[in-house]
């Protein structure tokens, strides 16, 4: 963060101790004044219950931590107009108008000149969010800012939007020359038919991904409804350029995508529920996807979709599967009643189920037995299994969060919990 004048002033320890004393005195005095001022604050009087209801003990607890100098230094900015007023003279002159004055502005003159904001010190999720809003050249420029930014901003993703302007197409790198690229995304940016020629040009610019061990995550996001022939063309185009062979995972965001051919080549599949087409299921059922090790289904909305996913994951259908993730669309609960039957998931090593999918007792009991045999589960499912285990004594089973009302499966709504009564 910032470097401060006080800390830098190594030649004047006596001056520092004197100033510290002065700061303490000023702070005490100003706190007294502030308390008096607080008591006469109009908004507090308006809401008279606020001040009255607050116990004295609580007031003391809530008082700013003493002395909090480091915190104040780190956070006090001198760019705000009211703070700028306090820069050149003592806080007493400014009274309660400036927050620096309130905390003892005797230290103001000793503050370092205004330091710039340290971009690299931003939390990583904030940095990522900034990063995602920037086009590729700007991302790279940002990475070149300083070493901390180079390490905190991941590089290696190539996000190609189509249709793409000719000028942008010229900047598309040949994959063979870019071994650092480990994520490859094709995203259709406007609705309407996919312009085949433009996409083919783009793919041909990428060239084949040379190298036996070359691996990357492939994401295809098409937002328009594609005809079966268009989808077949897209799959063939990706295959033709050697992109499918080198993909370590395929993330499909296409409506009703039939990528059964691609499934044979890619071990990890991430699909939206909409993408789980009948023909994809059929291809899986027919045993065309023997390499598939992981399925991640997102945007599940209905019980049928969850059941279809579980059916696909059954040992008899997809014995190669090791990892299954079922993610609900969110905001709505999906009751899942297995009616005494459940798929054989004994071949799975890891199972994640979104908490919005409410599981029936039979299925939970089955999962608990798999868990005992070594199945790793996501934290939400783990919690649900523990809750179920601790509360199963008695007739009532508290199962899962979610707002579900479904008489057919014996669920009753009770506050935020779904309750199943065992009969």
């Amino acid at each position: 963060m910032r470097s401060l004048g006080v800390a830098d002033c190594s030649t004047a320890p006596k001056m520092l101790s004197f100033l510290n004393g002065a700061i303490q005195n000023a702070r005490q005095m100003l706190l007294k004044r502030k308390r008096t001022a607080d008591d006469s604050l109009a908004p507090l009087q308006d809401d008279s219950t606020a001040a009255e209801q607050l116990p004295k003990r609580m007031r003391q607890q809530c008082a700013p931590a003493e002395p909090s100098a480091a915190l104040a230094k780190a956070w006090c900015c001198r760019l705000h107009p009211c703070c700028q007023e306090g820069q050149s003279s003592s806080g007493e002159d400014h009274g309660a108008g400036c927050h620096l004055a309130r905390m003892g502005s005797a230290s103001l003159e000793l503050r370092a000149p205004n330091a710039h904001s340290d971009l690299a010190a931003l939390p990583s999720d904030v940095l990522q969010s900034i990063f995602q809003q920037l086009p590729l050249p700007d991302r790279l420029a940002l990475r070149q800012g300083c070493r901390a930014l180079t390490s905190s901003i991941p590089y290696g993703g190539l996000h190609l939007c189509f249709p793409m302007s000719r000028q942008h197409q010229q900047t598309v790198p040949c994959l063979a020359d870019r071994p650092a690229i480990c994520k490859l995304t094709f995203e259709q940016t406007c609705s309407g038919r996919v312009r085949k020629r433009a996409l083919k040009n783009l793919l041909s610019r990428l060239g084949p991904a040379v190298g036996k061990d070359r691996r990357y995550e492939l994401r295809v996001c098409v937002n328009s409804v594609l005809s079966a022939s268009d989808l077949a063309w897209l799959e063939a185009a990706l295959d033709c350029c050697g992109l499918l062979q080198h993909a370590v995972s395929l993330d499909l965001c296409c409506i009703d995508a039939d990528f059964s051919g691609a499934l044979q080549k890619v071990p990890v599949l991430r699909l939206t529920a909409e993408s789980l087409s009948e023909s994809t299921c059929e291809a899986i059922e027919k045993g065309h996807c023997r390499n598939l090790e992981s399925i991640h289904l997102t945007h599940l909305r209905e019980e049928e979709e969850v059941q279809l996913a579980l059916m696909v994951a059954d040992r008899g259908v997809l014995g190669s599967l090791r990892r299954l993730t079922l993610e609900a669309a969110g905001g709505q609960g999906i009751p899942l009643g297995c009616r005494g039957q459940h798929p054989d998931l004994s071949h799975l090593a890891h199972l994640s189920i979104h908490p919005d999918i409410a599981l029936c007792v039979n299925f939970l009991r089955y999962l608990a037995s798999l868990r005992a045999r070594g199945l790793a589960v996501c934290p939400c499912l783990q919690q649900a299994l523990e809750d179920w285990a601790t509360q199963r004594s008695g007739a009532m089973f508290v199962l899962w969060f979610g707002a579900v009302e479904d008489d057919q499966h014996g669920f009753l709504q009770h506050g935020d919990f779904v309750i199943e009564i065992e009969v």
């Binding site: 809530c62 104040a72 309130r102």
Partner: protein, 165 residues
């Protein structure tokens, strides 16, 4: 309407409607954890000026959201966007403090707005300009920098052209 007091790290109190304060998920969860009668929420990571600015956002957005009857959704969105645009026109340093506060207080809308503001400051700038704007210190060794520059060359059209020349 119930009001609560938000106390900044430097002890300044801000009385604010609970509805507006609860745009901050941090404040909301603090209120849930604290006793029912609690009216003062200490925020040890936000200074007075920044908190004032954050609350300006929360109050404005709550007020605009409440105006459901007299204006259409589209108009309200447009009004909000225009207000946000004016609101985010602050200095780099102020923006930095605001994004840190938005992150700590967990105000998603404000955080997104600040990130967009920072991204706008970076957009179209050379690495040197980014450094100047945010006070970054170039701490690369010469070969290291050259290596990064060469790796990025394909995406930086101008530099590529310069290199050709």
């Amino acid at each position: 309407m119930r009001s609560i007091i938000l106390r900044s790290c430097d002890g300044a109190d801000h009385v604010v409607a609970q509805e507006a304060a609860c745009l901050s998920k941090t404040v909301q969860s603090l209120l849930e954890e604290l006793e029912e009668s609690t009216l003062v929420v200490p925020l040890p990571n936000v200074c007075d000026c920044t908190l004032r600015k954050v609350l300006q956002y929360c109050t404005q957005h709550t007020a605009l959201q409440r105006r459901v009857t007299d204006i259409s959704d589209e108009l309200r969105t447009r009004e909000m966007e225009a207000w946000d645009k004016r609101y985010i026109m602050v200095s780099t340093d102020e923006l930095y403090h605001l994004v840190m506060a938005a992150h700590y207080l967990n105000v998603p809308g404000l955080l997104e707005l600040c990130c967009e503001g920072i991204a706008n400051l970076i957009r179209g700038k050379s690495p040197e300009h980014v450094r100047q704007c945010f006070g970054l210190v170039k701490n690369f060794e010469a070969p290291e920098e050259e290596n990064i520059r060469r790796t990025n060359l394909w995406a930086l059209v101008d530099e590529k052209e310069q290199a050709k020349k």
